[in-house]
């Protein structure tokens, strides 16, 4: 049986965050179908809520978009009431996608290897595929 590992999402996914009033929303994107199966299984609304809770306790809504290998999350009450009254330097939460990519999921070695080795779906020109975080962990 393959051993299990704790892996930060940054190794198998990419993400963007943005603001709407006091809510921050996140798109989380696997690089390939193998990675998507892992994030769909592991990254539930409850996991995201628990991940942010020590910093920004708020309800989380989640949607799955298998058609684009993505998950969508909304974290409520994340901006001190909204960007124009938020005292943080990152008042619009644009850096918060990076915080989501810190979330650790549990996968088997074989699952991780598959997600890292399957090619990226997108066209990346002449550069060789470089799934993020290959050298990490």
């Amino acid at each position: 049986m393959s051993q299990t590992l704790r892996v930060p999402l940054v190794r198998i996914a990419h993400a963007r965050s943005g603001d709407k009033a006091d809510w921050v929303d996140f798109g989380l994107f696997a690089w390939n179908l193998a990675g998507y199966r892992l994030i769909e299984r592991e990254v539930t609304a409850e996991r995201v809520r628990a991940h942010f809770a020590p910093w920004l306790p708020g309800e989380v809504d989640a949607w799955a978009l298998p058609n684009i290998l993505a998950l969508k999350f909304v974290l409520r009450g994340a901006l001190q009431g909204g960007g124009a009254r938020n005292l943080r330097l990152d008042n619009l939460g644009k850096a918060m996608a990076g915080a989501l990519l810190r979330l650790e999921i549990v996968v088997t070695e074989a699952e991780l290897a598959e997600a890292l080795e399957a090619p990226r779906v997108g066209w990346w020109g002449d550069v060789p595929p470089s799934p993020p975080g290959r050298g990490q962990g």
């Binding site: 009033a21 006091d22 994107f29 058609n67 290998l69 005292l87 644009k94 470089s130």
Partner: protein, 483 residues
């Protein structure tokens, strides 16, 4: 359909089907318009649509208008059009923007004046009717109308403090303006994607108002998706690509090309960019923008159509070409979204640095001194917010600080202190708490930044308003002569 099944094969479109090419303008007030020039010169676009208004931009424009009633619009539209108009006129490219902000007529007059000084003529259409501040301020408005969209609170809680309130209009007045022959359309608040949907409906003859057929609604949904993919300029073509490592694979961001869409009559769209420009259009960069700030991706509301992204297929053809199909539309509801802003106190911020040795302990002692002064002088405040740029200002408690020993071994520690207060006088006095500590505080301060950095805070009031209260007031005026 699952991504791994996408074949990378060229797609040939039937040549008898009409298409329109539209390019992204700015993504916010202050964006760079040189990539827009590249789209006009090398991207074969027929329209540019430019989004100057983020959620909070109207607050900035309101301050301008208070100083000078002729202002209140995004002033970058004037130098932008002085740069782009000669390129557009030569090629017959038409321009749609929401730079009018709180004063679309003022923006149009400023552009016409700048054009007149150059001896240029243009037909400019002005769209107004989005301002709903009077309705928000009207005490006779029923209590359940205009409640906070998220919390349900009644608008009476903030009524006295409102500074602006605008409904998001749809594409209809933009279509009307283009049908009337406008070269340039200047609006106030409209749904960002409507800036793009307007030219598509105009050029492709799609049914807009009252559409009920699935085919009509799905085409509008495709058009809305195109607008959403293009409205944030470089974010749709490889800019701000959140990732580890992969962002380095995006070429030449210094010369990024903003996204361009070619849209066919049936709604099929190709997302691309001008040849020779930097950035990247691919499955990854396009889908990061697709989900940006949409909340429920199965019901993305706009005044013109409700979009379900669940069936969208992004077919990566390679070489900066992504084909978009599968957006599904439903008829929009009877309400329009409104974003209002209200005065919500003030902030003052100072950033203060200390160097090794003991930089961390010294910063803690310094913060304690500031708290003592706030108490001694009875300076009214709601909170003193503290963060450490370079350590935890981006990820808060999710970026755990090293232990005190490691922190004290660091070369320097910067502390950002922000006072939140209902009192303007308190913010003005906050910066004066610091300078004397250069001589009388802990040693080796690296300096202060922002001693006079104070500003007013604004709360955002998102709400809904019945269409029937807004749409009868929408007006399209045509100014200027034939070019």
């Amino acid at each position: 359909m699952i991504g791994a099944t996408y074949p990378v094969v060229p797609i040939h479109f039937p040549t008898f089907m009409k298409s329109i090419r539209i390019g992204a303008g700015l993504g916010f007030y202050g964006d760079n318009w040189e990539p827009v020039a590249a789209s006009i010169e090398y991207g074969h676009v027929q329209f540019i649509a430019s989004d100057h208004l983020a959620e909070l931009t109207l607050a900035i424009l309101q301050k301008d208008r208070q100083r000078d009633p002729s202002l209140g619009y995004a002033r970058d539209v004037v130098p932008m059009l002085l740069r782009l108009w000669p390129l557009m006129r030569e090629r017959g490219v038409r321009f749609v923007c929401n730079a009018g902000g709180l004063n679309p007529m003022g923006a149009a007059q400023a552009v016409l004046a700048a054009f007149a000084a150059k001896g240029w003529q243009a037909r400019i259409a002005v769209v107004t009717g989005d301002d709903v501040l009077p309705r928000l301020q009207d005490v006779s408005t029923p209590a359940d109308e205009l409640a906070h969209l998220f919390t349900g609170e009644a608008v009476s809680q903030v009524r006295e403090r409102l500074v602006f309130g605008n409904a998001y209009l749809g594409a209809a007045p933009i279509v009307q303006a283009l049908d009337a022959g406008a070269d340039i359309v200047i609006t106030g608040r409209v749904a960002d994607a409507a800036l793009f949907l307007g030219p598509l409906v105009h050029g492709l003859g799609w049914t807009l108002g009252g559409a009920t057929e699935p085919q009509d609604l799905n085409r509008l949904a495709q058009g809305l998706t195109v607008g959403h993919l293009l409205e944030c300029s470089g974010q749709g073509s490889g800019g701000n690509f959140g990732s580890q490592g992969a962002w380095k694979d995006i070429p030449d961001l210094a010369h990024i090309g903003y996204p361009i869409a070619e849209v066919w009559e049936d709604g099929t769209a190709l997302i691309t960019k001008a040849p020779g420009t930097g950035g990247r259009i691919n499955f990854d960069t396009v889908r990061q923008q697709l989900l940006y700030e949409v909340h429920n991706p199965h019901a993305y509301h706009s005044p013109d159509v409700v979009l379900d992204m669940g069936g969208i297929v992004l077919h990566d053809e390679g070489h900066d070409r992504v084909r978009l199909t599968g957006a599904r539309g439903q008829a929009p509801g009877p309400m329009l979204k409104v974003v209002a802003g209200y005065r919500d106190g003030y902030k003052a911020e100072v950033t203060w640095g200390f160097s090794w040795p003991d930089a961390w302990d010294k910063s803690q002692a310094a913060i304690a001194t500031i708290r003592t002064q706030l108490a001694d002088r009875r300076i009214p405040h709601d909170e003193l917010f503290v963060e450490y740029p370079g350590l935890n200002s981006a990820h808060g408690a999710l970026a755990p600080l090293p232990d005190a020993g490691a922190l004290n071994a660091m070369n320097e520690i910067w502390t950002r202190l922000v006072l939140r207060t209902p009192s303007k006088a308190a913010t003005d006095g906050f910066g004066r708490l610091f300078p004397w500590l250069a001589l009388s505080g802990p040693a080796y301060t690296c300096g202060f930044n922002g001693l006079h950095n104070t500003s007013e805070l604004l709360g955002i009031w998102p709400t809904l308003i019945p269409r029937v209260r807004v749409e009868p007031n929408i007006q399209v005026d045509l100014l200027g002569g034939a070019p």
